[in-house]
């Protein structure tokens, strides 16, 4: 695990500029990037949403005026429009008119869901400019996010995993394997309760019609970045402190993502798992240990650390690959 991480270009880039200065700069840069995205989205989308709202309002007025004996077609037409609009998150119901989709905090929330590739879809860019910006924003932002997450996870894992494991190993004299396993389990348990169970309980209280299961479902769907969008917090009618709530949710999602990555990294460092994953490899082309890191969300995160290592060695060595599927050869390389 350590060798493959060291081989990853992300980590190398980070370790070259180890100073806290650069790290703080990276964090600041990332936050600024999010804010910038939010500002642009807000300024691009808000007028369009305003327009859409007005149109819908006018349509509804006209409908209410020619009341008597509405024909089926008229009703259908109206409803089709209503559904189209609700697809975009714009509602015509009077008690939902306080919920703007593109004010600043909502745009911030939206930007964070785009960069984490969650993508709920409860609000989507309506205008062509918004869509184009969204694409460009994510082309730059997603690698940026990956870099950022790598850096953060690297820092955290030193304090959370490596030092305690080493400490217990030296202090209490258990074998490293045992300590590592116990530690991984404890960490997993703590993370699940902190980032799933407790937030689920909080959401089920704060949201009007969410029970505990639905909140837990939401937490899972969001933190795994699937992001279906059927449940999105902060969209209820007359939500109190909506802005603060949205910011809170954004922070929760980011921290939850980091926590997930830390836990996965910890599990991947377990010696036993390495042998299991070797079974899935098609080729084995070098002596040192090449371990696949199964990060669960960022689609390229795993391939980065693994393939970057293989890329570097390939460029240096330029020797033909050896197709070895037998576990024995893998084990021998493991023991090096």
């Amino acid at each position: 695990m350590l060798q493959s991480l060291a081989g990853s270009s992300c980590v190398r880039l980070v370790e070259q500029h180890r100073s806290a200065w650069c790290f703080a700069l990276l964090v600041l840069g990332y936050l600024l990037y999010l804010v910038f995205g939010a500002v642009v989205f807000s300024s691009v989308e808000l007028p369009y949403e305003d327009l859409l709202r007005q149109e819908l309002g006018k349509l509804k007025q006209r409908f209410l005026e020619d009341h008597a004996c509405l024909s089926e077609q008229q009703l259908e037409q109206f409803l089709v429009r209503v559904l189209e609009a609700s697809n975009y998150g714009v509602s015509v119901l009077s008690n939902a008119s306080g919920n703007w989709n593109w004010d600043f905090t909502s745009s911030l929330f939206f930007a964070s869901t785009v960069l984490s590739t969650t993508g709920y879809g409860h609000t989507v860019p309506l205008s062509d400019g918004g869509k184009a910006f969204c694409i460009i924003y994510s082309v730059i932002g997603i690698p940026f996010t990956l870099l950022f997450l790598t850096a953060v996870v690297q820092r955290i894992i030193v304090y959370v995993t490596r030092r305690p494991v080493l400490y217990f190993h030296i202090r209490w004299g258990f074998s490293k394997q045992v300590v590592a396993i116990i530690h991984a389990m404890v960490l997993g348990f703590v993370t699940v309760s902190c980032f799933f169970l407790i937030p689920a309980a909080i959401f089920s209280v704060l949201e009007d019609d969410w029970n505990f299961l639905e909140s837990f479902y939401f937490c899972f769907i969001s933190l795994s970045t699937i992001g279906l969008g059927d449940y999105v917090p902060g969209e209820g009618y007359n939500q109190k402190f909506r802005e603060l709530y949205k910011i809170g949710i954004t922070c929760y999602l980011l921290m939850g993502l980091i926590a997930m990555l830390v836990v996965l990294e910890t599990f991947c460092e377990l010696h036993e798992l390495k042998k299991f994953r070797k079974l899935f490899y098609v080729k084995k082309d070098k002596e040192e240990d090449q371990v696949h890191i199964m990060e669960h969300d960022q689609l390229s995160f795993s391939s980065i650390s693994d393939q970057a290592a293989s890329m570097k060695d390939d460029q240096k060595a330029n020797e033909p690959f050896v197709n070895s599927q037998s576990p024995t050869s893998n084990d021998s390389s493991l023991n090096n």
């Binding site: 119901l93 694409i135 969008g229 098609v282 990060e295 969300d297 980065i304 970057a308 390939d314």
Partner: protein
């Protein structure tokens, strides 16, 4: 072997979800239709609140994927292809949201399904990426032997692969979409990008237009495209970060 496991996993998820969701969906559709006819019966002078309540009901139903129009496409229902498509969108973490489980059992299953499916998906993507890389380097070596170019061949092959991938996964599919779905080229491109980056808003989803007749190969081709496109995009991002160094 891995591919077989992956496909089998998807199929199993689809079957279970279909079994869980279809009854609930049918029931919701019937309820909605009943309400609709009741409204049509009491025609005279609808009042605002009654209308609002009705619209609210409609929107609620719509959010669970049930519409008033009688016909939805097979990707918009919880039958097998719809559930299959949902499984794909779940374990690739795209998560469109046009279909989402509304029963408690469906949700719990979805959680467990994704818990194991996502690592599986990652392993598969890693494999595909490595295979693609292998292919590129193989071709590069061939070129070196034929033309004796040394370092240039590798670079050329990589740019070539990049351009081919760009064409195949991002630039050509929108043409297919504009023909089959009736979207404009920009919308098709937007959809392609949002899907391959696994953001997956769900504002555009293929196969949701009930007036279109989709050929039978359409869905399979799209699934393949998603898989390979994601692996390719992962490689590209890795290259970008390599260049950063």
């Amino acid at each position: 072997v891995l591919l077989a496991v992956y496909v089998g996993y998807l199929g199993m998820g689809a079957a279970v979800l279909q079994a869980l969701e279809r009854p609930a969906e049918v029931q919701a559709a019937q309820l909605l239709l009943r309400e609709y006819w009741k409204l049509m019966a009491n025609h005279s002078c609808l009042q605002g609140p009654a209308l609002e309540r009705f619209i609210e009901g409609i929107i609620q139903a719509y959010k669970s994927g049930v519409t008033l129009q009688g016909n939805t496409t097979s990707l918009g229902r919880w039958d097998f292809s719809g559930s299959f498509f949902f499984s794909i969108s779940a374990i690739t973490t795209i998560g469109y949201g046009n279909l989402s489980p509304s029963t408690a059992g469906g949700r719990i299953f979805c959680i467990v399904f994704a818990l194991f499916g996502i690592p599986l998906n990652l392993v598969l993507l890693n494999e595909i990426g490595q295979l693609m890389l292998l292919g590129v380097q193989h071709c590069a070596r061939r070129l070196e032997e034929v033309f004796h170019w040394q370092n240039k061949a590798s670079f050329l092959m990589k740019t070539c692969a990049l351009v081919t991938g760009l064409l195949l996964f991002l630039l050509l599919p929108p043409l297919l979409f504009s023909e089959k779905e009736g979207w404009s080229y920009d919308e098709g491109f937007y959809y392609s990008f949002i899907t391959l980056s696994t953001i997956g808003f769900g504002d555009y989803v293929i196969g949701m237009n009930p007036d279109q007749a989709y050929p039978s190969w359409y869905k399979n081709v799209i699934s393949l495209w998603i898989l390979f496109g994601m692996a390719w995009l992962a490689l590209v991002i890795k290259f970008c970060i390599n260049i950063l160094e």
